[in-house]
Symmetry: C2
Subunit: 312 residues, 2 copies
Protein backbone atom coordinates (compact mmCIF):
# COMPACT_ATOMS: atom_id res chain seq x y z
CA UNK A 1 0.00 0.00 0.00
CA UNK A 2 1.42 3.34 -1.05
CA UNK A 3 1.60 6.25 1.37
CA UNK A 4 2.13 9.88 0.45
CA UNK A 5 3.40 12.87 2.38
CA UNK A 6 1.55 16.16 2.23
CA UNK A 7 3.12 19.39 3.48
CA UNK A 8 1.17 22.59 3.96
CA UNK A 9 3.46 25.58 4.27
CA UNK A 10 1.77 28.49 5.98
CA UNK A 11 3.23 31.72 7.26
CA UNK A 12 2.94 30.56 10.88
CA UNK A 13 3.08 26.76 10.77
CA UNK A 14 4.33 24.01 8.54
CA UNK A 15 1.97 21.05 8.77
CA UNK A 16 3.08 17.63 7.59
CA UNK A 17 0.96 14.54 7.23
CA UNK A 18 1.33 10.92 6.20
CA UNK A 19 -1.62 9.91 4.04
CA UNK A 20 -2.69 6.39 3.08
CA UNK A 21 -4.10 5.50 -0.33
CA UNK A 22 -7.66 6.04 0.91
CA UNK A 23 -6.94 9.65 1.85
CA UNK A 24 -6.71 8.98 5.60
CA UNK A 25 -4.13 11.01 7.51
CA UNK A 26 -2.33 8.40 9.63
CA UNK A 27 0.25 10.69 11.25
CA UNK A 28 0.92 14.41 11.56
CA UNK A 29 3.84 16.62 12.49
CA UNK A 30 4.24 20.35 12.80
CA UNK A 31 7.05 22.92 12.94
CA UNK A 32 6.78 26.71 13.22
CA UNK A 33 7.54 28.32 9.84
CA UNK A 34 8.07 31.77 11.25
CA UNK A 35 11.02 30.72 13.47
CA UNK A 36 13.15 30.34 10.36
CA UNK A 37 15.03 32.78 8.18
CA UNK A 38 17.48 30.23 6.75
CA UNK A 39 16.04 28.06 3.99
CA UNK A 40 18.51 25.16 4.25
CA UNK A 41 17.98 24.84 8.00
CA UNK A 42 14.22 24.97 7.54
CA UNK A 43 14.28 22.20 4.90
CA UNK A 44 16.65 20.09 6.93
CA UNK A 45 14.27 20.31 9.92
CA UNK A 46 11.33 19.37 7.71
CA UNK A 47 13.30 16.37 6.42
CA UNK A 48 14.19 15.27 9.95
CA UNK A 49 10.53 15.38 11.02
CA UNK A 50 9.43 13.47 7.95
CA UNK A 51 12.05 10.76 8.41
CA UNK A 52 11.05 10.38 12.06
CA UNK A 53 7.40 10.07 10.99
CA UNK A 54 8.27 7.42 8.41
CA UNK A 55 10.43 5.45 10.85
CA UNK A 56 7.67 5.55 13.44
CA UNK A 57 5.07 4.26 10.99
CA UNK A 58 7.37 1.88 9.12
CA UNK A 59 6.01 2.68 5.68
CA UNK A 60 7.33 3.58 2.24
CA UNK A 61 6.11 6.66 0.36
CA UNK A 62 5.50 7.32 -3.33
CA UNK A 63 6.04 11.05 -3.18
CA UNK A 64 5.94 14.32 -1.30
CA UNK A 65 3.43 17.04 -2.20
CA UNK A 66 3.76 20.61 -1.02
CA UNK A 67 1.16 23.37 -1.02
CA UNK A 68 2.57 26.82 -0.40
CA UNK A 69 1.68 30.47 -1.00
CA UNK A 70 3.18 31.59 -4.33
CA UNK A 71 4.17 28.02 -5.09
CA UNK A 72 5.02 27.45 -8.73
CA UNK A 73 4.27 24.01 -10.14
CA UNK A 74 6.74 24.18 -13.01
CA UNK A 75 9.76 25.47 -11.13
CA UNK A 76 9.11 23.74 -7.80
CA UNK A 77 9.88 27.08 -6.16
CA UNK A 78 8.11 29.44 -3.79
CA UNK A 79 8.90 32.88 -5.14
CA UNK A 80 9.03 35.76 -2.66
CA UNK A 81 5.96 34.85 -0.64
CA UNK A 82 5.12 38.00 1.32
CA UNK A 83 3.93 36.04 4.39
CA UNK A 84 7.06 33.91 4.84
CA UNK A 85 9.94 34.96 7.08
CA UNK A 86 12.33 33.10 4.74
CA UNK A 87 12.91 35.39 1.77
CA UNK A 88 13.89 34.83 -1.86
CA UNK A 89 13.16 32.11 -4.41
CA UNK A 90 12.95 28.88 -2.46
CA UNK A 91 13.46 25.73 -4.52
CA UNK A 92 11.66 23.18 -2.37
CA UNK A 93 11.65 20.52 -5.05
CA UNK A 94 15.43 20.53 -5.24
CA UNK A 95 16.14 21.14 -1.55
CA UNK A 96 13.80 18.48 -0.18
CA UNK A 97 14.66 16.18 -3.09
CA UNK A 98 18.16 15.84 -1.63
CA UNK A 99 16.73 14.02 1.39
CA UNK A 100 14.21 11.72 -0.30
CA UNK A 101 14.39 9.49 -3.34
CA UNK A 102 10.76 10.14 -4.42
CA UNK A 103 9.14 12.87 -6.52
CA UNK A 104 8.62 16.21 -4.76
CA UNK A 105 5.71 18.15 -6.30
CA UNK A 106 4.79 21.71 -5.36
CA UNK A 107 1.97 24.04 -6.23
CA UNK A 108 0.25 26.99 -4.64
CA UNK A 109 -1.98 26.31 -1.66
CA UNK A 110 -5.31 26.96 -3.41
CA UNK A 111 -4.37 24.75 -6.37
CA UNK A 112 -3.42 22.06 -3.88
CA UNK A 113 -6.77 22.41 -2.10
CA UNK A 114 -8.59 22.06 -5.41
CA UNK A 115 -6.64 18.95 -6.30
CA UNK A 116 -7.26 17.52 -2.84
CA UNK A 117 -11.00 17.92 -3.45
CA UNK A 118 -10.50 16.13 -6.78
CA UNK A 119 -8.56 13.17 -5.43
CA UNK A 120 -10.08 12.78 -1.96
CA UNK A 121 -13.17 15.00 -1.70
CA UNK A 122 -16.40 16.11 -3.33
CA UNK A 123 -14.96 16.64 -6.78
CA UNK A 124 -14.05 12.96 -7.28
CA UNK A 125 -15.17 11.92 -10.73
CA UNK A 126 -15.68 15.47 -11.99
CA UNK A 127 -13.78 16.67 -15.05
CA UNK A 128 -14.43 20.41 -14.66
CA UNK A 129 -14.63 22.32 -11.40
CA UNK A 130 -13.30 25.39 -9.63
CA UNK A 131 -12.38 25.84 -5.97
CA UNK A 132 -12.53 29.21 -4.22
CA UNK A 133 -10.68 29.47 -0.91
CA UNK A 134 -11.57 32.29 1.46
CA UNK A 135 -9.04 33.24 4.12
CA UNK A 136 -6.55 36.02 4.67
CA UNK A 137 -6.70 36.27 0.89
CA UNK A 138 -8.92 34.66 -1.73
CA UNK A 139 -7.38 31.85 -3.72
CA UNK A 140 -8.63 29.53 -6.42
CA UNK A 141 -7.76 26.29 -8.13
CA UNK A 142 -9.20 25.19 -11.45
CA UNK A 143 -9.56 21.75 -13.00
CA UNK A 144 -10.34 21.58 -16.73
CA UNK A 145 -10.77 18.24 -18.47
CA UNK A 146 -9.46 16.53 -15.36
CA UNK A 147 -6.22 18.53 -15.36
CA UNK A 148 -5.22 21.12 -12.75
CA UNK A 149 -4.69 24.34 -14.70
CA UNK A 150 -1.21 25.77 -14.17
CA UNK A 151 -1.06 27.79 -17.38
CA UNK A 152 2.05 28.89 -19.20
CA UNK A 153 3.74 30.17 -16.03
CA UNK A 154 2.90 27.53 -13.44
CA UNK A 155 0.92 30.06 -11.40
CA UNK A 156 -2.53 30.09 -13.05
CA UNK A 157 -5.72 30.21 -11.00
CA UNK A 158 -5.63 33.58 -9.25
CA UNK A 159 -9.33 34.43 -9.38
CA UNK A 160 -9.04 36.26 -6.05
CA UNK A 161 -7.22 38.94 -8.01
CA UNK A 162 -9.80 39.30 -10.75
CA UNK A 163 -10.98 42.87 -10.73
CA UNK A 164 -14.64 42.83 -9.74
CA UNK A 165 -15.14 46.56 -9.13
CA UNK A 166 -12.99 48.70 -11.44
CA UNK A 167 -11.39 51.47 -9.34
CA UNK A 168 -12.77 49.77 -6.22
CA UNK A 169 -10.99 49.02 -2.96
CA UNK A 170 -7.21 49.15 -2.80
CA UNK A 171 -5.73 45.63 -2.90
CA UNK A 172 -2.46 44.52 -1.35
CA UNK A 173 -1.42 43.51 -4.89
CA UNK A 174 -1.21 47.19 -5.83
CA UNK A 175 -4.32 47.25 -8.00
CA UNK A 176 -7.88 48.17 -7.15
CA UNK A 177 -11.16 46.31 -6.86
CA UNK A 178 -9.88 42.71 -6.73
CA UNK A 179 -12.38 40.12 -5.48
CA UNK A 180 -10.03 39.57 -2.53
CA UNK A 181 -10.56 43.12 -1.25
CA UNK A 182 -14.25 42.30 -0.70
CA UNK A 183 -14.46 38.60 0.18
CA UNK A 184 -11.28 37.80 2.11
CA UNK A 185 -11.44 37.87 5.91
CA UNK A 186 -9.93 41.34 5.79
CA UNK A 187 -12.35 42.49 3.08
CA UNK A 188 -15.32 41.25 5.10
CA UNK A 189 -14.10 43.20 8.14
CA UNK A 190 -13.75 46.31 5.96
CA UNK A 191 -17.31 45.88 4.69
CA UNK A 192 -18.54 45.54 8.27
CA UNK A 193 -16.71 48.69 9.33
CA UNK A 194 -18.13 50.66 6.39
CA UNK A 195 -21.68 49.47 7.03
CA UNK A 196 -21.31 50.07 10.79
CA UNK A 197 -20.17 53.63 10.16
CA UNK A 198 -23.08 54.21 7.77
CA UNK A 199 -25.53 52.88 10.36
CA UNK A 200 -24.03 54.38 13.54
CA UNK A 201 -22.01 57.37 12.45
CA UNK A 202 -18.92 56.06 14.29
CA UNK A 203 -16.31 53.31 14.22
CA UNK A 204 -17.11 49.97 15.89
CA UNK A 205 -15.43 49.54 19.31
CA UNK A 206 -12.30 47.42 19.52
CA UNK A 207 -11.06 44.77 17.14
CA UNK A 208 -13.41 43.08 14.71
CA UNK A 209 -12.70 39.77 12.99
CA UNK A 210 -14.66 37.89 10.34
CA UNK A 211 -15.32 35.21 12.98
CA UNK A 212 -16.90 37.83 15.25
CA UNK A 213 -19.00 39.14 12.37
CA UNK A 214 -20.19 35.57 11.83
CA UNK A 215 -21.18 35.20 15.48
CA UNK A 216 -22.97 38.57 15.41
CA UNK A 217 -24.89 37.53 12.32
CA UNK A 218 -26.12 34.40 14.06
CA UNK A 219 -27.32 36.63 16.92
CA UNK A 220 -29.33 38.67 14.42
CA UNK A 221 -27.09 41.74 14.26
CA UNK A 222 -28.30 43.74 11.24
CA UNK A 223 -24.95 45.22 10.27
CA UNK A 224 -23.31 41.82 10.43
CA UNK A 225 -26.09 40.26 8.33
CA UNK A 226 -25.78 43.06 5.77
CA UNK A 227 -22.03 42.42 5.67
CA UNK A 228 -22.54 38.79 4.73
CA UNK A 229 -25.24 39.72 2.21
CA UNK A 230 -22.84 42.04 0.42
CA UNK A 231 -20.05 39.44 0.61
CA UNK A 232 -22.32 36.74 -0.83
CA UNK A 233 -23.63 39.06 -3.52
CA UNK A 234 -20.13 39.91 -4.78
CA UNK A 235 -18.74 36.38 -4.45
CA UNK A 236 -21.78 35.11 -6.37
CA UNK A 237 -20.96 37.41 -9.28
CA UNK A 238 -17.33 36.29 -9.26
CA UNK A 239 -18.37 32.63 -9.27
CA UNK A 240 -20.92 33.16 -12.04
CA UNK A 241 -18.21 34.91 -14.05
CA UNK A 242 -15.91 31.93 -13.54
CA UNK A 243 -18.51 29.62 -15.10
CA UNK A 244 -18.21 31.56 -18.37
CA UNK A 245 -14.63 30.43 -18.62
CA UNK A 246 -14.73 26.68 -18.22
CA UNK A 247 -18.39 25.68 -17.73
CA UNK A 248 -17.58 23.58 -14.65
CA UNK A 249 -19.88 20.98 -13.10
CA UNK A 250 -19.39 22.57 -9.70
CA UNK A 251 -17.84 25.48 -7.91
CA UNK A 252 -16.52 24.63 -4.44
CA UNK A 253 -16.06 26.96 -1.54
CA UNK A 254 -13.84 26.54 1.51
CA UNK A 255 -12.03 28.52 4.18
CA UNK A 256 -12.69 30.21 7.51
CA UNK A 257 -15.21 32.87 6.47
CA UNK A 258 -17.27 30.25 4.60
CA UNK A 259 -17.84 28.44 7.92
CA UNK A 260 -20.37 31.09 8.94
CA UNK A 261 -22.98 29.13 6.99
CA UNK A 262 -26.40 30.52 6.09
CA UNK A 263 -25.67 34.25 6.56
CA UNK A 264 -23.15 33.94 3.71
CA UNK A 265 -24.38 30.91 1.81
CA UNK A 266 -27.97 32.04 1.27
CA UNK A 267 -27.17 35.40 -0.36
CA UNK A 268 -24.28 33.70 -2.18
CA UNK A 269 -26.54 31.06 -3.74
CA UNK A 270 -29.09 33.74 -4.67
CA UNK A 271 -26.48 35.94 -6.34
CA UNK A 272 -24.86 32.94 -8.04
CA UNK A 273 -28.23 31.87 -9.50
CA UNK A 274 -29.14 35.40 -10.59
CA UNK A 275 -25.80 36.10 -12.23
CA UNK A 276 -25.29 32.79 -14.02
CA UNK A 277 -25.62 33.19 -17.79
CA UNK A 278 -28.83 31.51 -18.99
CA UNK A 279 -27.08 28.82 -21.06
CA UNK A 280 -25.27 27.68 -17.90
CA UNK A 281 -28.22 27.82 -15.51
CA UNK A 282 -28.67 24.51 -13.72
CA UNK A 283 -25.41 23.10 -15.12
CA UNK A 284 -23.09 24.13 -12.27
CA UNK A 285 -23.61 23.37 -8.59
CA UNK A 286 -22.34 25.57 -5.79
CA UNK A 287 -20.86 23.23 -3.16
CA UNK A 288 -18.94 23.39 0.09
CA UNK A 289 -15.64 21.53 0.24
CA UNK A 290 -16.28 17.97 1.39
CA UNK A 291 -12.95 17.73 3.22
CA UNK A 292 -12.40 18.60 6.89
CA UNK A 293 -11.16 22.14 7.41
CA UNK A 294 -8.09 20.96 9.35
CA UNK A 295 -7.20 18.27 6.79
CA UNK A 296 -7.81 19.84 3.40
CA UNK A 297 -4.44 21.60 3.14
CA UNK A 298 -2.41 18.47 3.88
CA UNK A 299 -4.62 16.23 1.74
CA UNK A 300 -4.41 18.74 -1.10
CA UNK A 301 -0.64 18.84 -0.88
CA UNK A 302 -0.49 15.04 -0.91
CA UNK A 303 -2.86 14.91 -3.88
CA UNK A 304 -0.38 16.87 -6.00
CA UNK A 305 1.78 13.75 -6.14
CA UNK A 306 -0.96 12.16 -8.28
CA UNK A 307 -0.36 14.73 -11.00
CA UNK A 308 0.86 12.45 -13.74
CA UNK A 309 2.34 14.99 -16.09
CA UNK A 310 4.82 17.06 -14.22
CA UNK A 311 6.10 20.14 -16.06
CA UNK A 312 4.80 20.85 -19.54
CA UNK B 1 -3.22 15.90 -49.68
CA UNK B 2 -6.15 16.28 -47.34
CA UNK B 3 -8.64 19.08 -47.79
CA UNK B 4 -11.13 20.28 -45.20
CA UNK B 5 -14.40 22.16 -45.45
CA UNK B 6 -15.07 25.09 -43.13
CA UNK B 7 -18.56 26.55 -42.77
CA UNK B 8 -19.25 29.82 -41.00
CA UNK B 9 -22.91 30.19 -40.15
CA UNK B 10 -23.88 33.81 -39.62
CA UNK B 11 -27.29 35.36 -39.24
CA UNK B 12 -27.13 36.85 -42.73
CA UNK B 13 -24.80 34.60 -44.72
CA UNK B 14 -23.50 31.07 -44.67
CA UNK B 15 -19.92 31.05 -45.94
CA UNK B 16 -18.31 27.82 -47.05
CA UNK B 17 -14.69 27.25 -47.93
CA UNK B 18 -12.45 24.45 -49.14
CA UNK B 19 -9.16 24.59 -47.28
CA UNK B 20 -5.92 22.80 -48.15
CA UNK B 21 -3.57 21.35 -45.55
CA UNK B 22 -1.54 24.57 -45.48
CA UNK B 23 -4.58 26.62 -44.48
CA UNK B 24 -5.13 28.15 -47.93
CA UNK B 25 -8.75 28.66 -48.96
CA UNK B 26 -8.88 27.24 -52.49
CA UNK B 27 -12.62 27.74 -53.14
CA UNK B 28 -15.53 29.56 -51.53
CA UNK B 29 -19.33 29.41 -51.74
CA UNK B 30 -22.04 31.41 -50.06
CA UNK B 31 -25.77 31.12 -49.44
CA UNK B 32 -28.05 33.54 -47.56
CA UNK B 33 -28.90 32.13 -44.12
CA UNK B 34 -31.79 34.48 -43.53
CA UNK B 35 -33.79 33.23 -46.53
CA UNK B 36 -34.44 29.98 -44.69
CA UNK B 37 -36.93 28.97 -42.02
CA UNK B 38 -36.82 25.23 -42.79
CA UNK B 39 -33.75 23.45 -41.39
CA UNK B 40 -33.81 20.41 -43.71
CA UNK B 41 -34.03 22.60 -46.80
CA UNK B 42 -31.21 24.80 -45.53
CA UNK B 43 -28.92 21.82 -44.87
CA UNK B 44 -29.79 20.24 -48.22
CA UNK B 45 -28.82 23.48 -49.98
CA UNK B 46 -25.55 23.63 -48.04
CA UNK B 47 -24.84 20.01 -49.04
CA UNK B 48 -25.57 20.75 -52.69
CA UNK B 49 -23.16 23.71 -52.70
CA UNK B 50 -20.47 21.68 -50.97
CA UNK B 51 -20.80 18.77 -53.40
CA UNK B 52 -20.60 21.17 -56.35
CA UNK B 53 -17.47 22.73 -54.85
CA UNK B 54 -15.86 19.30 -54.36
CA UNK B 55 -16.76 18.18 -57.89
CA UNK B 56 -15.35 21.36 -59.33
CA UNK B 57 -12.07 20.98 -57.46
CA UNK B 58 -11.87 17.19 -57.76
CA UNK B 59 -10.61 16.65 -54.19
CA UNK B 60 -11.39 14.45 -51.20
CA UNK B 61 -12.05 15.92 -47.75
CA UNK B 62 -11.18 14.67 -44.27
CA UNK B 63 -13.98 16.47 -42.47
CA UNK B 64 -16.38 19.38 -42.21
CA UNK B 65 -16.06 21.98 -39.47
CA UNK B 66 -18.82 24.40 -38.58
CA UNK B 67 -18.65 27.57 -36.53
CA UNK B 68 -22.03 28.93 -35.49
CA UNK B 69 -23.54 31.19 -32.86
CA UNK B 70 -24.65 29.07 -29.86
CA UNK B 71 -22.94 26.04 -31.38
CA UNK B 72 -22.41 23.21 -28.91
CA UNK B 73 -19.37 21.03 -29.45
CA UNK B 74 -20.68 18.01 -27.56
CA UNK B 75 -24.16 17.82 -29.09
CA UNK B 76 -23.31 19.08 -32.59
CA UNK B 77 -26.36 21.33 -32.30
CA UNK B 78 -27.06 25.03 -32.56
CA UNK B 79 -29.55 25.72 -29.78
CA UNK B 80 -32.01 28.56 -30.30
CA UNK B 81 -29.59 31.09 -31.74
CA UNK B 82 -31.38 34.44 -31.45
CA UNK B 83 -29.94 35.76 -34.72
CA UNK B 84 -30.98 32.83 -36.92
CA UNK B 85 -34.29 32.80 -38.84
CA UNK B 86 -34.36 29.00 -38.45
CA UNK B 87 -35.58 28.28 -34.94
CA UNK B 88 -35.18 25.39 -32.52
CA UNK B 89 -32.36 22.99 -31.73
CA UNK B 90 -30.57 22.39 -35.00
CA UNK B 91 -28.51 19.20 -35.15
CA UNK B 92 -26.03 20.09 -37.87
CA UNK B 93 -23.73 17.18 -37.09
CA UNK B 94 -26.51 14.69 -37.79
CA UNK B 95 -28.23 16.56 -40.63
CA UNK B 96 -25.10 17.30 -42.65
CA UNK B 97 -23.64 13.93 -41.72
CA UNK B 98 -26.36 12.31 -43.87
CA UNK B 99 -24.79 13.82 -46.97
CA UNK B 100 -21.11 13.22 -46.28
CA UNK B 101 -19.14 10.25 -45.05
CA UNK B 102 -16.64 12.33 -43.03
CA UNK B 103 -16.70 13.74 -39.48
CA UNK B 104 -18.82 16.85 -39.00
CA UNK B 105 -17.55 18.94 -36.06
CA UNK B 106 -19.35 21.99 -34.71
CA UNK B 107 -18.54 24.62 -32.09
CA UNK B 108 -19.48 28.19 -31.43
CA UNK B 109 -18.05 30.83 -33.73
CA UNK B 110 -15.62 32.35 -31.21
CA UNK B 111 -14.26 28.94 -30.20
CA UNK B 112 -13.79 28.20 -33.89
CA UNK B 113 -11.93 31.48 -34.42
CA UNK B 114 -9.63 30.66 -31.50
CA UNK B 115 -8.91 27.21 -32.87
CA UNK B 116 -8.29 28.68 -36.33
CA UNK B 117 -5.66 30.93 -34.81
CA UNK B 118 -4.15 27.85 -33.16
CA UNK B 119 -4.01 25.69 -36.28
CA UNK B 120 -3.39 28.30 -38.98
CA UNK B 121 -2.59 31.64 -37.30
CA UNK B 122 -0.55 33.45 -34.68
CA UNK B 123 -1.17 30.96 -31.90
CA UNK B 124 0.58 28.08 -33.67
CA UNK B 125 2.85 26.34 -31.15
CA UNK B 126 1.23 27.97 -28.13
CA UNK B 127 -0.26 25.80 -25.40
CA UNK B 128 -2.24 28.47 -23.57
CA UNK B 129 -4.02 31.43 -25.15
CA UNK B 130 -7.35 33.23 -25.25
CA UNK B 131 -9.12 34.85 -28.20
CA UNK B 132 -11.53 37.76 -27.77
CA UNK B 133 -13.80 38.50 -30.75
CA UNK B 134 -15.45 41.91 -30.97
CA UNK B 135 -18.52 42.23 -33.17
CA UNK B 136 -22.26 42.49 -32.68
CA UNK B 137 -21.48 40.67 -29.43
CA UNK B 138 -18.24 39.82 -27.68
CA UNK B 139 -17.13 36.20 -27.90
CA UNK B 140 -14.14 34.27 -26.67
CA UNK B 141 -12.34 31.01 -27.19
CA UNK B 142 -9.85 29.53 -24.77
CA UNK B 143 -7.06 27.02 -25.28
CA UNK B 144 -5.56 25.42 -22.16
CA UNK B 145 -2.71 22.90 -22.43
CA UNK B 146 -3.30 22.78 -26.18
CA UNK B 147 -6.96 21.85 -25.82
CA UNK B 148 -9.94 24.04 -26.78
CA UNK B 149 -11.94 24.44 -23.57
CA UNK B 150 -15.54 23.30 -24.01
CA UNK B 151 -16.23 22.60 -20.34
CA UNK B 152 -18.82 20.26 -18.96
CA UNK B 153 -21.59 21.59 -21.21
CA UNK B 154 -19.85 22.07 -24.57
CA UNK B 155 -20.44 25.81 -24.42
CA UNK B 156 -17.56 27.14 -22.30
CA UNK B 157 -15.73 30.33 -23.21
CA UNK B 158 -18.31 33.08 -22.83
CA UNK B 159 -16.09 35.84 -21.47
CA UNK B 160 -18.21 38.45 -23.26
CA UNK B 161 -20.83 37.73 -20.63
CA UNK B 162 -18.55 38.09 -17.64
CA UNK B 163 -19.95 40.85 -15.48
CA UNK B 164 -17.44 43.68 -15.51
CA UNK B 165 -19.57 46.39 -13.89
CA UNK B 166 -22.04 44.96 -11.34
CA UNK B 167 -25.44 46.60 -11.91
CA UNK B 168 -24.03 48.22 -15.06
CA UNK B 169 -25.58 48.41 -18.53
CA UNK B 170 -28.49 46.16 -19.41
CA UNK B 171 -27.32 43.22 -21.53
CA UNK B 172 -29.37 41.34 -24.12
CA UNK B 173 -28.72 38.23 -22.00
CA UNK B 174 -31.00 39.64 -19.31
CA UNK B 175 -28.27 40.46 -16.82
CA UNK B 176 -26.41 43.71 -16.23
CA UNK B 177 -22.87 44.93 -16.75
CA UNK B 178 -21.54 42.20 -19.07
CA UNK B 179 -18.33 43.02 -20.93
CA UNK B 180 -20.35 42.80 -24.15
CA UNK B 181 -22.51 45.80 -23.17
CA UNK B 182 -19.37 47.98 -23.25
CA UNK B 183 -17.07 46.56 -25.89
CA UNK B 184 -19.33 45.11 -28.61
CA UNK B 185 -20.10 47.29 -31.64
CA UNK B 186 -23.40 48.17 -30.00
CA UNK B 187 -21.76 48.93 -26.66
CA UNK B 188 -19.21 51.19 -28.31
CA UNK B 189 -22.02 53.13 -30.01
CA UNK B 190 -23.79 53.46 -26.65
CA UNK B 191 -20.61 54.81 -25.05
CA UNK B 192 -20.26 57.32 -27.89
CA UNK B 193 -23.87 58.46 -27.48
CA UNK B 194 -23.41 58.88 -23.73
CA UNK B 195 -20.19 60.83 -24.10
CA UNK B 196 -21.68 62.94 -26.93
CA UNK B 197 -24.65 63.84 -24.76
CA UNK B 198 -22.34 64.73 -21.86
CA UNK B 199 -20.27 66.97 -24.14
CA UNK B 200 -23.02 68.54 -26.26
CA UNK B 201 -26.20 68.32 -24.22
CA UNK B 202 -28.04 66.62 -27.10
CA UNK B 203 -28.19 63.38 -29.08
CA UNK B 204 -25.84 62.96 -32.08
CA UNK B 205 -27.54 63.48 -35.45
CA UNK B 206 -28.56 60.41 -37.44
CA UNK B 207 -27.25 56.88 -37.18
CA UNK B 208 -23.91 56.15 -35.60
CA UNK B 209 -21.93 52.93 -36.12
CA UNK B 210 -18.71 51.72 -34.54
CA UNK B 211 -17.08 52.07 -37.98
CA UNK B 212 -18.10 55.76 -38.08
CA UNK B 213 -16.75 56.26 -34.56
CA UNK B 214 -13.48 54.76 -35.78
CA UNK B 215 -13.32 57.15 -38.73
CA UNK B 216 -14.13 60.12 -36.48
CA UNK B 217 -11.37 59.11 -34.09
CA UNK B 218 -8.84 59.10 -36.92
CA UNK B 219 -10.01 62.62 -37.80
CA UNK B 220 -9.28 63.69 -34.22
CA UNK B 221 -12.86 63.88 -32.93
CA UNK B 222 -12.56 64.15 -29.15
CA UNK B 223 -15.77 62.31 -28.28
CA UNK B 224 -14.85 59.44 -30.60
CA UNK B 225 -11.34 59.25 -29.11
CA UNK B 226 -12.78 59.24 -25.59
CA UNK B 227 -15.13 56.43 -26.68
CA UNK B 228 -12.22 54.24 -27.74
CA UNK B 229 -10.27 55.13 -24.59
CA UNK B 230 -13.12 53.93 -22.42
CA UNK B 231 -13.57 50.80 -24.57
CA UNK B 232 -9.86 49.98 -24.36
CA UNK B 233 -9.76 50.66 -20.63
CA UNK B 234 -12.60 48.22 -19.91
CA UNK B 235 -11.46 45.56 -22.38
CA UNK B 236 -7.99 45.76 -20.83
CA UNK B 237 -9.42 44.96 -17.41
CA UNK B 238 -11.38 42.02 -18.81
CA UNK B 239 -8.28 40.66 -20.54
CA UNK B 240 -6.13 41.10 -17.44
CA UNK B 241 -8.81 39.25 -15.46
CA UNK B 242 -8.71 36.41 -17.97
CA UNK B 243 -4.98 35.95 -17.38
CA UNK B 244 -5.73 35.08 -13.73
CA UNK B 245 -7.61 32.04 -14.92
CA UNK B 246 -5.22 30.23 -17.23
CA UNK B 247 -1.99 32.27 -17.37
CA UNK B 248 -1.93 32.24 -21.19
CA UNK B 249 1.08 33.09 -23.34
CA UNK B 250 -1.02 35.50 -25.38
CA UNK B 251 -4.43 37.09 -25.60
CA UNK B 252 -5.62 37.64 -29.17
CA UNK B 253 -8.10 40.20 -30.39
CA UNK B 254 -10.13 40.18 -33.60
CA UNK B 255 -13.32 41.55 -35.09
CA UNK B 256 -14.64 44.70 -36.75
CA UNK B 257 -14.24 47.22 -33.94
CA UNK B 258 -10.65 46.07 -33.37
CA UNK B 259 -9.80 47.22 -36.92
CA UNK B 260 -9.84 50.85 -35.77
CA UNK B 261 -6.24 50.38 -34.66
CA UNK B 262 -4.40 52.85 -32.43
CA UNK B 263 -7.42 54.70 -30.98
CA UNK B 264 -8.46 51.39 -29.36
CA UNK B 265 -5.20 49.48 -29.17
CA UNK B 266 -3.15 52.10 -27.33
CA UNK B 267 -5.52 52.58 -24.39
CA UNK B 268 -6.17 48.81 -24.44
CA UNK B 269 -2.47 47.97 -24.09
CA UNK B 270 -2.09 50.58 -21.33
CA UNK B 271 -5.05 49.23 -19.37
CA UNK B 272 -3.96 45.62 -19.95
CA UNK B 273 -0.48 46.40 -18.60
CA UNK B 274 -1.80 48.34 -15.61
CA UNK B 275 -4.35 45.72 -14.64
CA UNK B 276 -2.23 42.60 -15.07
CA UNK B 277 -1.41 41.01 -11.71
CA UNK B 278 2.29 41.48 -10.92
CA UNK B 279 3.16 37.76 -11.07
CA UNK B 280 1.85 37.67 -14.66
CA UNK B 281 3.42 40.91 -15.88
CA UNK B 282 5.47 40.32 -19.01
CA UNK B 283 4.27 36.71 -19.33
CA UNK B 284 1.28 37.32 -21.62
CA UNK B 285 1.33 39.22 -24.90
CA UNK B 286 -1.62 41.13 -26.29
CA UNK B 287 -1.81 40.32 -30.01
CA UNK B 288 -4.04 40.93 -33.00
CA UNK B 289 -5.32 37.87 -34.83
CA UNK B 290 -2.83 36.93 -37.55
CA UNK B 291 -5.54 35.66 -39.90
CA UNK B 292 -7.30 37.78 -42.54
CA UNK B 293 -10.58 39.24 -41.34
CA UNK B 294 -12.53 37.69 -44.23
CA UNK B 295 -10.92 34.25 -43.79
CA UNK B 296 -10.72 33.69 -40.04
CA UNK B 297 -14.28 32.37 -39.62
CA UNK B 298 -13.96 29.75 -42.35
CA UNK B 299 -10.43 28.77 -41.33
CA UNK B 300 -11.57 28.50 -37.72
CA UNK B 301 -14.47 26.27 -38.69
CA UNK B 302 -12.16 24.04 -40.73
CA UNK B 303 -9.67 23.89 -37.87
CA UNK B 304 -12.29 22.26 -35.65
CA UNK B 305 -11.88 19.08 -37.69
CA UNK B 306 -8.40 18.77 -36.18
CA UNK B 307 -9.89 18.34 -32.73
CA UNK B 308 -8.81 14.80 -32.04
CA UNK B 309 -10.99 14.02 -29.06
CA UNK B 310 -14.58 14.63 -29.98
CA UNK B 311 -17.06 14.54 -27.12
CA UNK B 312 -15.81 13.92 -23.60
Amino acid sequence: MAYTIGIDIGGTNTDMGLIDSEGKIVARRNIPTNKYTDFELYVSDIARELKAMLDENKVEIDGIGIGAPNGNFYTGCVDNAPNLTIKGNLNFEQALGRYFDVPVVLSNDANAAAYGEYIYGGARGMKHFIMFTLGTGVGSGIVVDGVLVHGSTGAAGELGHSILIPEGRQCSCGRKGCLETYTSARGIVQTYRELYRDANGKEPDGDVTSKMIGDMAHQGDEVALATWRKTGYLLGIAMANAINFSAPEAIFLMGGPAQVGAPLLEPLQKSFDEHTLSIFKGTCRLMMSQLKANEVAILGAAALVKLKTKKS
